[in-house]
Symmetry: C2
Subunit: 196 residues, 2 copies
């Protein structure tokens, strides 16, 4: 078991890193947000983290994504703690109160298996991050997996990096994890930790 | 205790991150290397990690650094597991065999409290990294804290990043952790994980 944990902390995929960071912060009973439910894997992960007393709010502008996620959560019997909204993550603040959310996960880009031209966009992603920041409780975190391969991806990555580089360092710590030794441009993980 | 661990995993300083990654990989009885002993804090940390059956090899080209480190290790009674060498880390391979080392820690730049013009240099740092790579056992790691503030630091950072970006991805995974939201240029942590 100890060995298993060790392998887990140096995962190959950045989405696994994101989950790992979230898992360190989230306790049973917490409220978490999947800002981009996609195929629902992060929603499922968050639903497991928060336990029966917790709540997960999931957002997507594509009905197909919400349907897949709902199906997945039903299959594993965790839908009762999950609230899905057919809306843009740029409206997060409409649904949640400040200082109430332990973790917000963003996985940018397109819906895997869906229409690859329907992607998250810099403007709405930045709006969503602005909405997400005040929602965090103390010790809460935001994870953002940002891609650089598809058309428009680099622009979104640059916008996110620029925005996160300027947020208040007295309240939030922001760091990025880059995989370096790959030939193509791999995704980057950004983590925002509200430490005060 | 659980809460304490949680705080530890999102540390403020990159040197703490480096220690944290090392701690996940190192077991009692392992051999570790402090490639730049400086004031000896990483040597001490490694000596604690490897336990009474382990060994730590420490290198520095400054006698003052070795003297400070020796004093520190004596004070805590851990000098018996530590071997200090007055030599450049670019000669690591002379002292250690391939596939025997679990962790190598580099903390670049100058000796804190010493002569700030005596810094690690790109050429020898890259040589040292080349020497360190084959020393790693499976699941071994190298951590490099690289600065960007003092004269010549950016050049060294660029060299290290460039070198690490090109190493064999079939055997090593290389990632960097950057703190983003700070006004000055903070240090960067590079981690090399031999995963195969």
């Amino acid at each position: 078991m100890k060995n298993k944990e060790r392998i887990e902390i140096l995962p190959q995929k950045l989405v696994s890193w994101a989950k790992w960071f979230v898992k360190q912060q989230v306790s049973e009973g917490d409220i978490c947000v999947d800002a981009t439910v996609g195929n629902g894997f992060d929603t499922l992960f968050l639903a497991e983290c928060v336990g029966p007393e917790g709540k997960v709010y999931g957002f997507d502008i594509q009905q197909a994504a919400l349907a897949k996620t709902k199906k997945l959560l039903m299959e594993v019997g965790l839908l009762d703690r999950v609230y899905l909204f057919h809306d843009s993550h740029s409206h997060l603040g409409t649904y949640l109160s400040n200082n109430t959310v332990k973790a917000v996960m963003f996985n940018l880009g397109y819906l895997p298996g869906g229409d690859h031209t329907l992607t998250t966009k810099p403007e709405t992603t930045i709006l969503a991050l602005k909405e997400a920041l005040p929602l965090l409780t103390a010790n809460g975190i935001i994870t953002v997996v940002s891609y650089r391969g598809h058309p428009g991806a680099i622009e979104e990555y640059d916008s996110v990096k620029d925005f996160l580089s300027k947020i208040n360092s007295k309240k939030y710590r922001v760091f990025s994890i880059d995989i370096l030794n790959q030939e193509h441009l791999p995704p980057v993980l950004f983590v925002v930790h509200r430490y005060r």
